[in-house]
């Protein structure tokens, strides 16, 4: 066991002693930091002129939403929002007006939620529609939401069991929504996709030489003729790959989480996800979604890592490994899923990049097995774990049986 930990230490040294590895890690951390801070750098422009800084603007919005926190998104609040927006002249860019800043902006989050529910495919819910909002429309907000969801679900190419389950879940969603400030979480959900892709690239670059580097350098001959070279060392390499990747992911996740929370505030863990995704059927809080998302994110990265080490054991050069993994990460970004095929949606959801996107994690396309429907966020980690548990023994065998010809 002692040898295992010693070898593990040396494998970590092999990765981290390279200057290129340090440069890549520093660059990745800088990019991750910029992803978050980038949104509050610069100024808001009103009539082409800089007004307040984006940081100040974020603080203003935060104060407005906090002022509404704890209030139910009911007819009263919707009518209040409509009244505030009615004071805004809508010719030109209405958000630049003094009236918007004074009366309507405090209710901008409410409008944001209402718009998603009230929008029809043929008719957008514009500011003028909000200004003309009737009591009847406000009263029917949640029934409209339910109708819209029901219609969407029934039109989806999924089985009856899935439709039933989605509608059951939707019924459990607490209405009226209770307003809460949760920008820290919503920002975290948005950025984590980019951070996930970044982490996957960093993992692929740093771990691609895990086995392939030994082949190209010729160290494989020394390793494979040593006592522990065909057993303990390979286990140690696989352990290092998985722990390094998990550590890197957790670091990036924690960094992103803390950045978001420190900047936007730690509030919102108990807010319902519908404040961010008004039409989501999942009766979950932001905190619960955060945990689910983090698990999917972690497993997606572990899957990329396992595939990286498998390719590294199989291929003769780290560059080939990087190219294939890069394609695996990038290509899914350009494939749009079709609402007409549940199977295609399900399959695309299982690609690592898609596992790191919240819209897939909380997708309505359930996985159907023998009449049962399972949520994507349950299948994603299971699938990733299966890929990991298949890939690692293969990588082990390939390196163990590697022939120096």
């Amino acid at each position: 066991m002692n040898s295992f930990w010693n070898l593990t230490g040396y494998e970590y040294k092999k990765i981290l002693r390279k200057k290129s590895a340090i440069v890549i890690l520093v660059l990745a951390i800088a990019v991750a930091a910029l992803c978050n801070y980038g949104t509050v750098i610069g100024y808001e422009y009103v009539n082409g002129q800089p007004s307040v800084s984006k940081m100040q603007s974020m603080k203003i919005d935060r104060a407005y939403t906090k002022a509404l926190s704890g209030r139910a998104l009911d007819s009263e609040l919707m009518m209040e929002t409509a009244e505030a927006y009615a004071k805004v002249p809508v010719d030109g860019k209405y958000t630049d007006t003094e009236e918007y800043q004074t009366y309507a902006r405090p209710y901008s989050q409410i409008y944001g939620i209402m718009r998603v529910v009230m929008n029809d495919s043929a008719d957008k819910f514009a500011v003028t529609d909000l200004q003309d909002l009737t009591q009847e429309q406000a009263d029917s907000f949640y029934s409209k939401r339910n109708e819209k969801l029901e219609r969407t679900i029934n039109e989806m190419a999924i089985g009856d069991a899935s439709k039933e389950k989605l509608l059951e879940m939707s019924e459990k969603v607490k209405t009226p929504y209770v307003i809460e400030y949760a920008d820290g979480y919503t920002r975290f959900f948005t950025i984590l996709y980019t951070i996930g892709i970044l982490a996957s690239f960093v993992t692929a670059i740093l771990l691609s030489p895990m086995f392939a580097g030994e082949y190209t350098s010729g160290a494989d001959q020394l390793i494979l003729t040593s006592k522990h070279g065909k057993n303990l060392l390979i286990r140690s390499k696989l352990f290092v790959a998985m722990t390094f990747s998990a550590g890197l992911c957790l670091f990036f996740m924690l960094m992103t989480y803390l950045q978001c929370m420190l900047m936007y505030g730690f509030n919102g863990a108990n807010a319902q996800i519908q404040l961010y995704l008004p039409l989501s059927v999942y009766p979950l809080t932001m905190g619960q979604v955060g945990i689910i998302f983090a698990v999917c994110f972690l497993f997606a990265n572990l899957m990329v890592t396992a595939l990286t080490v498998l390719l590294s054991a199989k291929m003769k050069s780290p560059f080939g490994v990087i190219i294939i993994i890069a394609a695996l990460i990038i290509v899914p970004m350009f494939i749009s899923s079709s609402d007409n095929s549940a199977l295609l949606n399900n399959l695309l959801c299982l690609l690592p990049t898609n596992m790191m996107a919240l819209w897939n994690v909380l997708s309505s396309f359930m996985f159907e097995f023998f009449g049962a429907s399972v949520e994507p966020y349950i299948i994603m980690p299971i699938f990733a774990a299966a890929i990991v548990s298949v890939s690692l023994p293969f990588a082990y065998r390939i390196f163990k049986n590697h022939q120096i010809a």
């Binding site: 002692n2 040898s3 010693n6 070898l7 040396y10 040294k13 092999k14 002693r17 390279k18 200057k19 030994e214 190209t216 350098s217 010729g218 160290a219 494989d220 001959q221 020394l222 390793i223 494979l224 003729t225 040593s226 006592k227 522990h228 070279g229 065909k230 057993n231 060392l233 049986n401 590697h402 022939q403 120096i404 010809a405």
Partner: protein, 289 residues
């Protein structure tokens, strides 16, 4: 102590790199001789368990080549070995020691001892990427000895060493051969001539000779000739026979040749050396693998 090689064969498609090689090696230094492409490296790799034979078996004291126990008794210096440029020489030795299953304290002690043996102790904490070719080679030799191996396989170990180091290393191998099996492959015939108790000669994947230096060179006994002739005659002789040495002398061109009968009236028979044998067998082999 016995390393048994039984009908060892390796095919690469239609090419036979090793053809039914059978050997029984006991303690001592074995010099493996052959032209490039003769199958020396293939044989060594199979003996190290990094190349699976198409057919045949390898056992050391009854332990199969594929067992960790076999590797525990093995020290190997490949022709070209990989290192980690960012590691220091000491790091590399300690890493190899862990791979070879040495306990930590023993590893530290042995690493320092071997670095001193190959004159690298004063650069033990320098990164390997700063080392010259000869220094890297010495480091490779040191790592091969870490586990005090009972089977030591050295593929071109003296390549890149300066003459002084080569002689020192040669003496070291000779000493190591007293208590273990050392299989040494080199193109430097004098290295083998000086230290190998048994010489193995490979050609086209086959072991064509094995025995002591005296046994081996018996093949060309009474076939080595020297003479000093004119340039025109020398050109004629060089076309007709395996010429081992050509030198411009005051009286003409000095030639050393291997041939079955006296090549010219001026030729005088001389005692055979291993180099003569090597050139006799491999003069028509192409160089470069």
């Amino acid at each position: 102590m016995e390393l048994i090689v039984d009908r060892l064969t390796k095919h690469y498609g239609d090419i036979i790199a090793a053809d039914r090689i059978s050997l029984a090696l006991h303690q001592g230094v074995y010099g493996l001789l052959g032209a490039n492409g003769a199958g020396k490296t293939t044989l060594m790799r199979m003996l190290c368990g990094v190349l699976r034979p198409t057919f045949g078996e390898i056992h050391f004291n009854g332990i199969d080549v594929n067992q960790a126990e076999y590797r525990d008794k093995l020290g190997y210096l490949p022709q070209e070995f990989g290192y980690y440029p960012e590691f220091t020489a000491l790091d590399f030795m300690l890493y190899m020691a862990v791979l070879k299953g040495l306990p930590k304290l023993r590893a530290i002690e042995k690493a320092h001892e071997l670095l001193a043996l190959v004159s690298l102790e004063n650069v033990a904490k320098k990164k390997i990427k700063t080392f010259s070719g000869g220094m890297k080679q010495r480091l490779g030799i040191a790592q091969a000895l870490l586990n005090d191996p009972q089977i030591l396989i050295l593929d071109e170990p003296t390549a890149g060493l300066d003459p002084k180091e080569r002689v020192r290393f040669r003496n070291m191998i000779s000493k190591l051969g007293e208590t273990r099996i050392v299989l040494l492959s080199t193109h430097i015939v004098s290295d083998i001539e000086n230290i190998a108790s048994t010489i193995l000669v490979m050609k086209n994947g086959q072991m064509i000779h094995q025995g002591s230096l005296q046994d081996i060179i018996r093949v060309i006994e009474h076939k080595v000739w020297v003479c000093t002739v004119s340039q025109a005659k020398a050109d004629e002789l060089m076309r007709a026979y395996s010429v081992i040495n050509v030198r411009q002398d005051e009286g003409g061109v000095f030639l050393r040749m291997v041939c079955d009968k006296r090549p010219c009236p001026e030729a005088v028979e001389t005692s055979a050396s291993l180099e003569d044998l090597y050139l006799y067998y491999f003069s028509e082999e192409k160089t470069g693998e």
